[in-house]
Structures are given as structure tokens and as C-alpha cells.
């Protein structure tokens, strides 16, 4: 395993702050969006796009690219920020988010946005698509990897479990899934709305290898992902323990901030993310 230099780690942590700033600005400009949920997975998205994944921004259809599917499509602001910083489209375009005629739709739109692998927003579907890509990759004897990011509320969807079962059945070790375990969903805490614990045991029972990490520790994200890529017989799911709104003091763990912030709060947020 390539040794992760301290310098690189600092750079990735700065990049994650940058993605968070973009997200706040985008949601403020659009007066619409889900800021907190993008912040809980910003470190995962950052690690994937700026360290782990092999992609070519100038050639989004490059056939050997690694694939990332944002199954929790409501966090697309953070994905768009990563794609822009990576060079798939200009950073200035981020402020067109959710405006009319924009390439940056409220939830991922494959047809409009360079770098988006599949449309999402209707929870439960991304892993299923990932299974199809993984089967295609194996058929073509390709070595690219497929990353799927789901939310924990999303585990309520039966479609997730259909996909999980089929990934294990077909031994698709070229898939690595992430669950953004921020413990909250729209109506409240996951354990109150629809308990999915014991989550790790469920995934193991479905034939997956399970690891649990601090979803805000970029070193842990990278190490868990690299280890998963060396496992041959089974896919891996990385349960990433996170905080909704991570990075901004008044948002951390507060479900209320699914909604909009005041201008004062936005200024405070951007200050904290410097």
C-alpha cells in the first residue's frame, strides 16, 4: 500500500473544507438544497475524488475510469463541488445549482452533468446500478473499481437489499459500498423512524465484508478503501460513522438544518471552514 504522506493528508483535509464551502455557497445561492447531508459525506467524497479514484475530467466516458455512484442523491451538492474542483466543469458553474436550464440539477442527472454516472434521488437504486456496472466490468475483464455511497436512512429501501444479495451472489469484489451513518433521516433519528441495527450484522449476513470507520477521518477512509480493493471473493461495505452538518458548529448533528441558514449563519459557516 502506498504510504499516505502527512502533507497529502493535510491537503486532502483542506480540499474537504473547500468542498464544504462550495456546498454552503451553492445552497445559499439557490435558496434550496440539503446542506447538512452533504457535509456528513464530504470527507468520503473528497478522499475518493482527490486520492483514491482514477478518472479523467477531460474524458468523462474514458472506459477504464473508476465509477462513483451517489446513491444518496440528495447530497449531490458535495458531488458537484468535487467534480468542479476536479475539472469536469468550471467552478463558477456551481452557482447555477438548481437554477433553470442548469447542468446541475437538484438531484443527480446523468444526461446533463459531466462526471455523473447515474441519475439518483429516489433512494435505494445506486447499489443496484453498481452491480450492473461491476458485471459489465468483469465481462470486459476490466480492473476499474465501482464505489457506491448510500445513506443510512436509505437502508430502509428493499431495493438496497436486492442489490446487496446479488452483489454477494456474483462475488463482485470490484464494488466498494459506503454507508454515511449520520444516524438521522428526514422525520428524525433512524433508530426511532425505522431501526436498521444491527446494520453491520445484516450486511455480513448478506455475504459482504463489513468495516466500520470514523467517516471524518480521511486516513481511515483511504486505508479501508485500499484494503477492500485487495479482497477478492466478496464486496466490502464501509460503514462510516459521521455527523450531519459536520464542519459547521451550529449544524453538527442538528436535523433542523436540513433547511436554510440565515445570512449570519452562512457567514459564520464560511468563517469556520477557512
Amino acid at each position: 500500500m502506498k504510504r499516505l504522506e502527512e502533507k497529502t493528508l493535510r491537503e486532502l483535509e483542506d480540499k474537504a473544507k473547500c468542498l464544504r464551502r462550495h456546498k454552503i455557497r451553492m445552497v445559499t445561492e439557490a435558496q434550496s438544497g440539503h446542506p447538512s447531508t452533504g457535509l456528513s459525506c464530504a470527507d468520503i467524497v473528497c478522499a475518493l475524488y482527490f486520492y483514491i479514484m482514477n478518472v479523467r475530467p477531460e474524458d468523462p466516458d474514458w472506459e477504464d475510469r473508476d465509477r462513483f455512484i451517489l446513491s444518496k442523491g440528495h447530497s449531490c451538492g458535495i458531488l458537484y463541488a468535487a467534480l468542479a474542483e476536479k475539472g469536469f466543469f468550471p467552478v463558477e458553474e456551481l452557482l447555477t445549482y438548481r437554477k433553470i436550464n442548469s447542468r446541475l440539477q437538484g438531484h443527480p442527472c446523468k444526461a446533463r452533468t459531466p462526471g455523473v454516472e447515474m441519475s439518483s434521488g429516489s433512494l435505494g437504486e445506486g447499489l443496484s446500478v453498481g452491480v450492473g456496472i461491476a458485471l459489465g466490468a468483469r465481462l470486459d475483464k476490466k480492473n476499474y473499481r465501482i464505489y457506491v455511497l448510500m445513506s443510512d436512512g436509505e437502508q430502509n429501501e428493499g431495493h438496497v437489499w436486492e442489490a446487496a444479495m446479488s452483489a454477494a451472489h456474483y462475488r463482485l469484489s470490484n464494488i466498494t459500498a459506503f454507508i454515511d451513518r449520520n444516524r438521522q433521516q428526514v422525520d428524525g433519528y433512524c433508530e426511532d423512524i425505522m431501526n436498521s441495527e444491527p446494520l453491520a450484522e445484516k450486511w455480513r449476513a448478506f455475504g459482504w465484508r463489513v468495516v466500520e470507520i470514523d467517516g471524518h477521518n480521511i486516513r481511515e477512509i483511504i486505508e479501508a478503501t485500499e484494503t477492500a480493493s485487495r479482497i477478492k471473493e466478496r464486496p466490502t461495505v464501509i460503514i462510516a460513522h459521521t455527523l450531519l452538518g459536520k464542519g459547521i458548529s451550529y449544524m453538527e448533528n442538528e436535523a433542523e438544518y436540513y433547511a436554510k441558514s440565515t445570512p449570519e449563519q452562512v457567514a459564520q459557516a464560511l468563517e469556520e471552514l477557512r
Partner: protein, 316 residues
């Protein structure tokens, strides 16, 4: 080639799929535990590298097919109509229609003639669902010959297709000279008193109806609409202009299917008397096909009665 008198369109598909699969390496088969319905059980087992079973999981069937399509494959996703158009419709909307992936959804057991299985296995809603979903093309051939011509055309077409086939054997009415073009209706019989526009299994009832009508001195034009969407607007307007009265016939709810597609064109372009034959917005039931045809008014005789109705309303 041996002439086939009667065959089920789902089996004709199975044979055509095998030929296509051998010729075109991008083609893959995916099914929700229903390769058997198309006569493909052995074939899928012998070709595991490119034939994937997802078991009884129709949403996953569609997601997996969409994923395969993004890697450049041409997936044929196989199940029965009801499970695709109803149980799996959100992944079809999100991962196929909206994402514009090249998935071909192939279903058997369209309509109510599903071999005594009853309402759970019938589908009278699929045309309605996919007519109202952007980017979907809906094709339903009347016989085995047309099915075999449609399969390579569907593979060559770039974009989502819903290919609706039937369970029971049906008479062969087309031959090697029939031209199959997606979106182009086929005139099977000429006539100038009325046009009977039919799809799928009801084409056969339409032909029978035209023979009954001929005995009574009424010359009916019979037009097959194998493509429900996009509907052949020119064919509808021409038939309206030239015959002045239309009856539609489909193995689908009388609401929101072929009849509605035709009515929409007529009302905006050339309003003339029209009547729709189809399932009268009720769930059907178990029973032999002949009994279902009589009880649910899906027989040639019902088309004949509808023709007389529109002729009486025709002015001049």
C-alpha cells in the same frame, strides 16, 4: 424456412434473442427468474458469462440492466409485463428513461390473456405507464414473424424500449416481405368504410371482425400499430381522412392506451367518430382465453358492434 402457422410471440422472441446474442457480443440477457417464460432457461445456463439472473427482484433487474448499459452493453431485461410496468417502474423512470440508458425491457404476459393465471399476472396498465414516461418507446408485435423482425431493430435502436409480448400462441399473419420499422403502422387489409386500428393479440380479432363485416358489405381497413409510442400520427390522420370512422382494439385498459393515443391525434387534427375496444377498466380474472374474450368484450364480435356504432355516427 419452415412456415410456422401459430406461435407465441414470447417464444419467437426467445429464438430471435438467441440469434442476436450470437451475432452481437454487446447483447446481454438479464432476468428476474423468468428466462423460462421465453424458452431461454437452457440458453441462459449455457451462456452464464453474458446471461444474468437476479432472481425474483424486479427493481434490481432494472438497476442492474441500467448499470450494464453504462458499460456499453445492450441489456435485454426480461420479466412479465405487470412486474416491469408496476413493481419496477421507479428504477425504469430514474435509471432508464431519465438517465437515457440503452435498456430493452422485454415482457411476456401483456394484457389479460395469460393462461388462467388471473389478475396478478395480467397487465392492462403498461401502455398507460410508458406513454406518460418520456424517452420510452413501446412496441408490441402481433405475431412471431414481426417479433423476429423487431428484435434486431430494437437492438440497433439507441434508447430505452418496452417490448411487450404475449403468452398464448397466435396465428402467423406476416411474412418475410413485411417491412418492420419502429413507429410505422402496417396496413394489413384495405377498405374505405372504417379503419380498425389494433395492436398485439387484438390484431387477430380485428382481422376476424373485418371478415365478418365483409359478409355484411362493410369494407374495413385493418391497420396494425405495433408501435404504441411514438404513435404513427400520419397513419391515423390518413385513415381518418380516407375512411371517416375508427375503432381501436387493444389488450389493455380502454383508458390511456392505444385508443387514447389515437383519440388524442384525432381530436387535435381531424375529429371523427371513434370507439375504443379494450378492457373496460376492471380487473379481469382466471379463465380460458375464449371465455375471457366473451366476458370482457374483447372478441371480434365486439369490434363488429363498435364498427356499426361509429358508422351510425358517421355523417355523409
Amino acid at each position: 424456412m419452415k412456415k410456422i402457422q401459430e406461435e407465441a410471440t414470447r417464444y419467437a422472441f426467445g429464438e430471435a434473442f438467441q440469434e442476436l446474442f450470437k451475432r452481437n457480443k454487446r447483447v446481454v440477457g438479464v432476468s428476474g427468474d423468468l428466462f423460462m417464460l421465453f424458452g431461454l432457461t437452457e440458453f441462459a445456463r449455457e451462456n452464464r458469462e453474458r446471461c444474468f439472473n437476479v432472481g425474483v427482484a424486479e427493481q434490481n433487474l432494472i438497476g442492474v440492466s441500467a448499470g450494464l448499459a453504462t458499460t456499453g452493453k445492450i441489456p435485454f431485461a426480461m420479466t412479465i409485463a405487470a412486474f416491469a410496468s408496476l413493481k419496477a417502474v421507479d428504477p425504469i423512470k430514474m435509471c432508464v428513461a431519465y438517465a437515457e440508458t440503452n435498456v430493452k425491457i422485454v415482457v411476456s404476459h401483456g394484457g389479460i390473456f395469460v393462461g388462467k393465471n388471473g389478475a396478478s399476472h395480467q397487465d392492462i396498465t403498461d401502455f398507460a405507464v410508458f406513454r406518460a414516461m418520456p424517452n420510452m418507446t413501446i412496441i408490441t408485435p402481433s405475431d412471431g414473424v414481426l417479433t423476429r423482425k423487431a428484435v434486431p431493430a430494437i437492438a440497433d435502436y439507441e434508447g430505452p424500449v418496452y417490448f411487450r409480448l404475449g403468452r398464448p400462441p397466435v396465428p402467423t399473419i406476416h411474412n418475410e416481405n413485411t417491412n418492420f420499422t419502429i413507429g410505422k403502422a402496417i396496413t394489413l387489409r384495405n377498405g374505405s368504410d372504417v379503419s380498425i386500428m389494433a395492436a398485439g393479440i387484438m390484431v387477430h380479432q380485428a382481422i376476424k371482425a373485418s371478415e365478418i363485416l365483409k359478409e355484411e358489405g362493410i369494407e374495413a381497413r385493418v391497420i396494425e400499430f405495433h408501435t404504441i409510442k411514438p404513435i404513427d400520427k400520419e397513419a391515423i390522420i390518413q385513415a381518418a381522412d380516407e375512411t371517416g370512422a375508427i375503432v381501436t382494439a387493444e389488450d389493455h385498459n380502454v383508458n390511456a392506451g392505444l385508443g387514447a393515443a389515437v383519440a388524442e391525434i384525432l381530436v387535435e387534427n381531424c375529429p371523427i367518430p371513434m370507439k375504443r375496444i379494450g378492457v373496460l377498466d376492471v380487473f379481469s380474472e382466471s379463465g380460458p382465453d375464449e371465455d375471457l374474450r366473451k366476458k370482457y368484450k374483447m372478441a371480434a364480435e365486439d369490434i363488429v358492434e363498435a364498427v356499426k356504432n361509429v358508422l351510425a355516427r358517421k355523417s355523409g
